[in-house]
Structure formats: C-alpha cells, structure tokens
Symmetry: D3
Subunit: 249 residues, 6 copies
Amino acid sequence: MLIAYSSWPEIDARLKTTKTVIVPIGSNEQHGPTGLLGTDWMCPEIIAHAAEKTDDGLIVAPTFNIGMAQHHLAFPGTISLRPSTFMSAITDWVHSLGRHGFDHIYFLNGHGGNVATIEATFSEIYADPSFQARKSRVILKLRNWWDLPGINSLCTQIFPTGHGMHATPSEIAVTQAAYPDRIKTADYSPKIAPNGPIRDALDYRARFPDGRIGSDPAQASPEKGQRIIDAAVPALIRDVQAFAEDPIH
Amino acid sequence: MLIAYSSWPEIDARLKTTKTVIVPIGSNEQHGPTGLLGTDWMCPEIIAHAAEKTDDGLIVAPTFNIGMAQHHLAFPGTISLRPSTFMSAITDWVHSLGRHGFDHIYFLNGHGGNVATIEATFSEIYADPSFQARKSRVILKLRNWWDLPGINSLCTQIFPTGHGMHATPSEIAVTQAAYPDRIKTADYSPKIAPNGPIRDALDYRARFPDGRIGSDPAQASPEKGQRIIDAAVPALIRDVQAFAEDPIH
Amino acid sequence: MLIAYSSWPEIDARLKTTKTVIVPIGSNEQHGPTGLLGTDWMCPEIIAHAAEKTDDGLIVAPTFNIGMAQHHLAFPGTISLRPSTFMSAITDWVHSLGRHGFDHIYFLNGHGGNVATIEATFSEIYADPSFQARKSRVILKLRNWWDLPGINSLCTQIFPTGHGMHATPSEIAVTQAAYPDRIKTADYSPKIAPNGPIRDALDYRARFPDGRIGSDPAQASPEKGQRIIDAAVPALIRDVQAFAEDPIH
Amino acid sequence: MLIAYSSWPEIDARLKTTKTVIVPIGSNEQHGPTGLLGTDWMCPEIIAHAAEKTDDGLIVAPTFNIGMAQHHLAFPGTISLRPSTFMSAITDWVHSLGRHGFDHIYFLNGHGGNVATIEATFSEIYADPSFQARKSRVILKLRNWWDLPGINSLCTQIFPTGHGMHATPSEIAVTQAAYPDRIKTADYSPKIAPNGPIRDALDYRARFPDGRIGSDPAQASPEKGQRIIDAAVPALIRDVQAFAEDPIH
Amino acid sequence: MLIAYSSWPEIDARLKTTKTVIVPIGSNEQHGPTGLLGTDWMCPEIIAHAAEKTDDGLIVAPTFNIGMAQHHLAFPGTISLRPSTFMSAITDWVHSLGRHGFDHIYFLNGHGGNVATIEATFSEIYADPSFQARKSRVILKLRNWWDLPGINSLCTQIFPTGHGMHATPSEIAVTQAAYPDRIKTADYSPKIAPNGPIRDALDYRARFPDGRIGSDPAQASPEKGQRIIDAAVPALIRDVQAFAEDPIH
Amino acid sequence: MLIAYSSWPEIDARLKTTKTVIVPIGSNEQHGPTGLLGTDWMCPEIIAHAAEKTDDGLIVAPTFNIGMAQHHLAFPGTISLRPSTFMSAITDWVHSLGRHGFDHIYFLNGHGGNVATIEATFSEIYADPSFQARKSRVILKLRNWWDLPGINSLCTQIFPTGHGMHATPSEIAVTQAAYPDRIKTADYSPKIAPNGPIRDALDYRARFPDGRIGSDPAQASPEKGQRIIDAAVPALIRDVQAFAEDPIH
C-alpha cells in the first residue's frame, strides 16, 4: 500500500493489522557526467515500490527526496538541506506517522551522505523520552538499500572494478532499469574516478571534477539494474518483516 | 527539463540561457473518503510535468511533497511539517537553487494551507538582504495552480455546486486523469460537506468527520481532470514566462 | 478593561466571566512622506481602546507594536522582526494569556504584511496539540481592522481614488483623529503612488521611492479618521462577541 | 523626537546629526495588589518621553513592552517572553536600528528581571563580529531607570522603609504621576512584603502571595512620582549624552 | 564524590541520601600575559574538588569548561560558546541531572562573563513549568567562587591594590597553588591595567592590549592561592549545605 | 602544548608554525558496574596528553567532556547533550579555534555514540561555505582513539573474548592506567553482557540491565591499559602529522 496513492480510510483500515511503515529517503544531487540528479531518492523508491507490488502488506510512505548534499553544491541541480533542517524534517515525518499509530518506522536510504545525520536525528527523537523517563512511542531503523542482505556482494560481483563510492554503476543501473528513456552517455576520464575525503563543496569539486568518486558508471545497464532490483526486493521484504517483529521495550 | 531526471552537465548547459525554475509544492494529507493522500503534491507535479513536455525550455525541480498539514493529523496517512520546519526546508531549497544561478524561483503550489507559511518564508529569506542593505540574489513567486489565469473559473463552470474548499472535485479529477488506476469510490453524506474554520487536528475532525470541506468530490472524473490540466498547462507556461521577465532591482 | 492599566486582582476577577482577549498588533514602519512610523500599531490600538471605552466588558492586552516589516528597512525608523522571531513572540504571548485561562484570543491587526506570518504562527501553535492528539487550549482569530464588517466599503466611499495599499489615507486619517498634533504635510509626486510586488528592502525602495504604494494620503483628515473609528468600534464589539461565542471542540 | 510619532523623512534628516537612540524596555507583569500590570514598561517610557520633551535632540524608539516575566505567570495579566525569544526580538530591534545608521543604542530598562537576559543578548549580538574578526556596527548600553545617577538615593530618601524589590512604591508612584486616573487601592498584609529568591511561577506565588517582594506600595503618591520623574529626566539626558560620546573601537 | 570518577551504581546509592550536586563552571579564555587560558574553569574545579576531599558527602559533576567568552576571541586560545549555545548546553546538563533525581543544582562559577547568561538560562529552564502551571523539578543556584562568604574580603586584603576585574592576582594565585609547574612570568606595563566597558572582541583588544582589566597579576603566588583555597573550601561546604536545605515549593 | 595550561602569548607564538589542534572529545555516561562515568572523555584526554608530553609540538585543546548519551540516561550520573545542542557547541568550538588561525582541527573521540552527530556537525559547518560558494576556513577530522592504526587489533589481541561494544575492558584499562586509585570492582553476570540495538534510555536499560554491551570489563588492568596507551601515542602523533599535511582546496 502506497500512502500517497491511497485514501485515508484505506490507511485507517490497514493500521488495524500493520504498524510498520517504510520511508524511502535519499537526495537530489549530482551523480557524475551520466547519472540522474534524482538517483539517490529514485533507487530506494524503485525498490520499495517494487516490493510493495510483490507484497501489498507493505506500507510505503511518500519519498523523502532531499537530503544532506552540501558537498555537491558546486554542481548545478543539487538541492541540499542543512543537517539541522534535515533533522527537523525527519522528526516531523516521524511524529506524523507515530501520531497515526505507526510504531516501527523503517527508512530505506539511498544516500551515504545521509547516514550520519539520520542517525543523529534518531538520537534527537529518542532524547525526548529518554530525558523524560518514558518509553518511546516509535522505534526507528535505517537501512541503506545496498546494505540489504546480499546486495553489496551482488553489486561487487556485477561490477568487480570501478564500483566506487559515488555515481556507482550499481545505483545508475537501478535508475536505468526504471527509467530506460532517461539513460545518458558521456565521455569521461579517467575511466575510474579518484578517491578522497569529503569536505565542503569547492573542495569536493576540486578533488572530483566531474562528480564521480572511485567509479566507472559506464558499466551500468538496465539489465544489470534489474538484477539488483530483483535481488533487493525479497531482501527488503524479509528485512522489514524482521524489523516489524522487533519488540518495543 | 526535469532536474531530477537530468544530469548535472545538462543543468549546467541550460543555466546559460535560463535562470528560472519551477518548484511543484504541496502536501501529503487526507482528501476525504475518496481522494488520494498525495493529491496536493500530485496536482502541481502533474501540471508542471505536462507543461515541461509541451515546452522543454521550462526547468522543473523535484516536487516538495510534504507541507503544512497539522490540521489533518487526525486522519491516518497525513504527514505534516511544523511551519518552522517548512520554512527552514524551503529556505534551503531556495539557497541551493540560488547557488547555481537560478534567480527566479516559482513555486507552483497545490495546498491552500501552505500559502501563509510559504509567504512567511519568502519574508524570512528576503530579510537577510534587507537587514544587510544588499540586493537579494533571488526573487520568489508563489502561485496556486487553481489561481493560474482562467483555472478557477473553469473549475466553477465544471463543478457549479459542491466544489468546496478541501477534497474538491477539481483536484481529485486532476489526479484521476493522471492516475486512472487509483480512482476510489465511497459512500458519504451529506452530499456536500460542511464549511467552517480551520484550527487544530481534533477540532478539524470534529467539524469535518470525513475530511471534506464544502465539497462533493464524487463529481470528479478523469475527463474533467484532463480538461483542467489542458487549460492549466498553457496558463502556467505564460505565467512563468512573465515572471522570468520580471527584473531584479 | 485594559490589561496594562489594571492590577492583577482586577484581571483575576474579570476572568471569572470573560475568557476572550483582544490583542492589538501592528508594525512600526515607514508610512510614506507624511504617515507616522507607528501608524500600523496605532490604528488597532486606537480602535480597540475606543471600543473598550464603549464596552468595558472587553479585555484589551498591551499592543504588540513591532511586526514583519523587512521590506521597509530601507526607510529610516522602520523596526522589524524576522518572521521566525515574530512567530516565537506571538507564541509566547498566546501561551501567557492561555496560562491565565483566556481561551479565545483575538488579534486586531493593523499591518497587511503581518497576515501571512500570524497565520503561520497560528498553525505552529495548533501543531503542538495536533501532533499530540489533544485539544488545543486556545482558539485564535486574526482580523485586520479594515476587514471589520463595513469598514472597507466605508473607506472606499470616503476615498474613492488613491486609497492604495500602503500609507493609505484611511489609516493615516485614523492616526490624525487620535493624534491631531502629529499631522505631517509634504509635497509628493506622483499624486497616486505606483503599485507593484513586495520583495526585499532595496527592491521596495527602488519601486516605491517615497514609501507609498498606490495611495494619495493627503486626502486624510482627522474628521474622516473619526468617521472610520466611529464605524469600526461597534463592528469590533460585534465581531469579538461572535468570536467569544465560538465553541472549542 | 519620538520615532513612532514621526515620519521617515524626519528620522532620515535627524540621522545626519544624531546616531544615538533610546529604547524604553520593560515588562507587562503583576505589580502587587495595587500596581498596574504595565508598570515596568510605563516607567521607562514616562521618563524617556518626558526627557524628549525637555530635549528634543533625543531620539526615542517605540517601547519594548514585554520582557522576561516567567516568574510572574501565576498572576493573571502577566505576559512573558521566554528568554530565548526575548533575545531574538532584541537582536532584531538592534539590527533594524543599526541598519539605519544608529550606532549607539541605549536601553532604558524598567524591569530587574530583564537585566540578565538583555546582557546575554548584548553578548550574542557582539558574538557575530567577534567570531568574524570584524568591528561591531553598534555599541549597546543597558541602564535601569532607578540606576540613573541620583535616583536610587532619592527613592530611598522618599521611601526609607518598605521600598523593597518588586511593586516598589517608587515605580508605582511614577505611574501614578503619569496616570492619576488609574490609581488603585487595596488592603494588604503584611504591610511590608517578604523577601526571598525568585524561581518559577508557582514557587513565586507560594512565597509572595499578593505579588509584592519586600515592598509597601501604599506609600506611593503622584507627587512623589513626579519628584522621581523630575530627577530622572536630567539624569537620563546627561547619561545618554555621555554614552553618545563613547567612541567605537 | 566526583561523578566522573565514580561508577553509576555508586551514584545510584548516594542518590538515596543526597539530591544536591555541584557543577563547576567556567571558561577557557585569555588571562593576560601570565594567566592560564583555563583559569576560569580551573578555579571552581580546584575549590570544588578540594571541598569534596574534605567532605565526601558532596557530589561534584564534571567541569563545564567552555563558557561565554566572545569578548576574548581576539586573543589566541580562547574558546567561546555563543550565549544561545551556552543556554542550550546548561539546560541539557540540568535536565540530565534532574532526570536522576538531583533536585538542587549548584553552579560554582569561575567567570564573571558567564553570570548573565547562566541567570538567563535559569529563567529559560523555569519558564517551562511556569508556562505550564506545574512545579519545577529542580531548583538552581549560581555562586561565583569569589562571592563565597568571606572570599572577596580575603582577596582584597591579600591584594589591596591591582586586584582588578580580569586576570586578577587572586584567580591566578589559585591556579598557581594547584599547578605550580605551570607558573608563567612576563613583563607587562602598565603595572595596573586599565578599566573600561566590555563589548566585542576587537574593541576589547583595543582597550586592553595584553588582556588584563585593572589587574596586576604578578602579585600572585602559590602560597596566596592556597590561602584563598583554604578559605573557600569551608565556605563552599556551608553554602552548599544551606542550599540543600532550601525547600522546593 | 596544552591550551588550557598555557598563556595566550604562548599560543600566539606557536600559531606562527602550527595550524593544527587536537580536541579530545567524549561523553560522561555509565560504563557498567565498574567503569568510571568519565571513561569516554578520559581516554582521549589521557592519550592526547601523553602524546603531547612525547611531542610538545602538538597543540591540545581542553577536553569536550559531554556528548551524545541520551541512551544512557536511565543510569545515574550520565549527562547528555541533545544532538542539536552538541552540534551547536562543536560548531562554536570550531569557529573559536578557526578564528585564531587553526585550520586543521582533529577531534580525538572516545565515544562511539558521538560519531554520527560529530559527522553531521562537520556537514553543518561545511554547509555555510558550500551554500555561499566560498572556501571553508577549516578542515575537520574525526578519529576514534580505538581506530588509530593498530589499536583495534591490539585490543582484540589483549582481550580476545568479551571485548564488546560498551564498557569494554580496553577503555576501562586505559582509565585504570591513568587513575589507579579509582579502580572499581563488582560482581556481575553474565560474564559477557548481551548485544543488541541502541534506542532510547528505557529500552537500553531493559536490554542491558547493568549497562554493559557485549563486554567483560573485569579483564581490564592498569598494565593492559598502559600497553594500549603506549601504542596509541605514536599512532596519534603520526595520524595528526599526516592530517596536518593535508592541503585545503
């Protein structure tokens, strides 16, 4: 069940049996010379929506599409929240969903740069009950889609070299599978982009002139993307199921 | 050009000729017994994407899908930001887009409840240059899709009674045109919902038990929705064009 | 009863029968070549205090005298809060008054530029009970003094041309009636000021060099101001009475 | 020159010769069984306006009428900002006035409970240039009216016993001189109220049941108030003059 | 009992009999040509730890070592919080300690520049219960170590001239007693530093080029410092004991 | 050079040759039945101070001793900042140090629970220059002391079983080496504590009743702690040296 495409009485009825909700979360940011700016919010949305088609017992929230991308701001099209804004927004999403009775909130994340701030937000949300000596109404889980069981190893197997850290062939392949009419090509060099630390936007652009980190995205294809999606869907369903059974103390 | 579905070099190239960007903005909130929870962010997205297909000189940002819906929180599936969070998030979007050189930012809004807070945010954004005696880098415009020239009168003509204020047949018709496989039906009464003031969530649900305000949404149909979209698209294109020519002092 | 000019036992006694309070709210900002900087907080104060003299059952709070005037900051004497500060301050006023048992809080506003931010603040205040699934302790109403029943039409009748949007002859006339020793005169041209959008402070001053928008304030006189006040007083009393009877759900 | 009662061209002209502005600041809070709730903002306003009548070279801003009064909230009619809100609001006033070229901002304070937060705000305002290694645009001074040279000793001479700390006969006398038609009487006991620490609102009301601290306000009279005003006016004029000559490093 | 050097079961056991905790609080900021940057957090730590050795019934929290020092930022090594950050951090400390059952929290302060902001924070903390009409869980006290009974007069007796306001011989002597291997010497002139107002950092450095205000710190010695410590310890023990007996209303 | 134990002229002189500073950062929180509450801020302080004794070219800031420990608040003695406060405080430290010319700021961290929030703070700090298209003044690095090259493997070698995640024998051993007179003993069971997720405080205490996660801290000894310190010191010196040579783009 996709929340945005349902009516409130449908959600109301489903809440009688399910208290777990999946929130696809990502970023809108440069993904190298060929990647779509929306790659990081599209990937978790693609996988979560495919999983919901397989098992409509899953409830999927709208996609949280803008995240923590300050380091990509020197590339046009990138839109970023400040971490403090990101934290406030996630908190409001959680409190909205918790208000309706969802008590297990599972964030399926598509952007490595979001991880630290999402985890910090979880602590901020938990801090209220912790300071007040009461139980939290919700429990929260963050899962990067590539960390779903089996997916990292599959990606490495498909792309043994040039997978890299940003604008990876695996994430680009996932978007190609979903949006084959949006495939871009470009010449770039070196074939495999450099690695290095991530700091502010100008430093990033100086180190990684076309936006890639460690990757060779031309290896992506819609077929490879579909293989990843097909593996991620059952992995997600099992992972959410296990989380749904996790008790609240 | 849809930013999310483009690469950064494509946006970079386009910025040489265009400095105006459209941001579809709405809310994810109950829309009565039959409306989709996503109605308010879908409508501006549907219209903006249709306009972009007609005139690909338009640049459309990702959709800002969660807004100011605290009054709908007693209905499951609603997700709301607090106004203060909403303001911070819009501010970060504007500063991201302004960073790339967009200097005319046009918000196509799908939710009446957003209007006051978006306007307050514009003032907050302008306040920085105003306090510092410098020029603003961006100018900002808010347009509700139903306030595009000719649209309100068209909606009233199509739905002379029972249009109402929330879960209106016109907005539901627009989503039916775009997502015909998501059409919902339900019995409801009274045929035309009551009117009244909007306050907090429990007050809202007490006044408007099924979520509608003043509307009879069963009048909606995909065909009527398509008529509205077809009228809104050229109106949007003209409105954005006029805004793009508005000088910055 | 004016709160500031009363003792706490007097307020305490009155709270046994009245739970409604009027807060005059405005701004301190340029009002063209002849208008007083305090015009926007003086007008609602003048009308509310006159109403309280007529019907001392009314309870009137001190005047909230600084509002959202960032766009006027290029004119000396203007004092503005940022919208976010304005929201925090209104929230604290509301929680103070609500703490004492006032549950109907009526803002009589004198500045159009305040409207969006006051409405956003109401949503922020309501959001707390809405997120927590409890009833709001207070209900809130915003009324611009010129929107009191009958007042706009009276102003248009007195000033059929050159009323405009800022530094209007009607608001200046109201202050002339109350402070006849503070009447200013000046040469200005054009006789009727231009109209246009409101953005940041430098943009405003470039568009509206003497501060007026669409108005010809020299038409004001104390007598005309007194006519407006005399009409506004009973309109306010009736409007507050109707609000006081509005139930809290 | 009173800013609120002037036009912007008048302020503009005066700024050519004067860069110093006085801001009367106080609180709206219970003042015992007989004191006006507005006492603490009225006193600095009364004195500053009287000084301006004597020496119209003084520029006086509108009165900042709500301050830090959380400890009085158990008494009806009290309106308080939170310290964090108070700090934001003072900051915005300072930046507004500084925007116009006022570089010496003198706060004439009427409420002891404001002192710590105003001083903290000054540090917050100075912190921006301090962190950025640049000069501050403004210098700031806080003066309680009773600390104007000679005033404390005069008050003690007029009221050798029962002056106390809150709802003092001197401050009530000042308001009686200005508003003789608002004089209240009440029986209270003990004649001289107790002293003690100031904490939260319920603690305050338990310690000081009628609101007074250490005072016997029935000693106040309009004549005594006028003596205090007459002494405070020249003291203020001299104090502001000395401040105006203080250089900015 | 020093919290940081204890285990949680030890604190748990002690909380059965003691609900009072001492928090040493200071600043890390320049202290003239010879003073240690840590002087202001070391002094209250030295005295509190010495008191705890004498009477292990005292519970001493870790030292809050960074405070409000924006005015010293033109001198290398100074670390300052903004007042708003300082307030948030103190609030979190108080709520953490209050969570465990400490209901009397005593701040032993070593920096005059902290006083206003700490007092403002106390008001911010009390404001929550005050606005909500409930009792505060904690009561709070601020004591500068030099204001412990008898200490100021002792310091004046030891250093009859050149004590001054910042980088005083008494505070430097206290650190010399505790850290005799960290004693610094330097030539400076004038022998007694000037006095003046405290504003932003550049203003401060212009007025007080070597950082001292009104002091001649070369008079300090470890022996004099030990005399001060020896007097402060029993004064602190008595002061805390009196505070611990102060009832919560 | 320890900043707190130096004078400002000493720091000033050193800044001519060194722009890198180490900030020990940790937490004050329960560490099981035998661990000191200060363990997490003591460990990085112990290692950094030992390194500074070896190589006084290192500059070490005061210790940031309170971090993100909301999940430990059900155990007495724990003091936590909220993540948002923690972020503001780290930001102020960084801007203070950056003000003096330190452009490489190295946080030596002692608490795993701090990592996400420190990384989020780095992004918040970098966001300012990133949004403004200017270079960052500082570069920032986070290193957990146990992630210094070679340390994790050493700890695992010394404690092949029962090392665990919280209240580990390695961290307790480090504090025992530094504070041998503060060694605690206690009976506990099971010998090796359970593992599990970290959420709010009550959940934590329900899962981990004596506070340990996965550890058997009784294996700690001062000698083992000294071995760890002796290995960490040269590793830290090399790591800081490499960071100091990292260019700023």
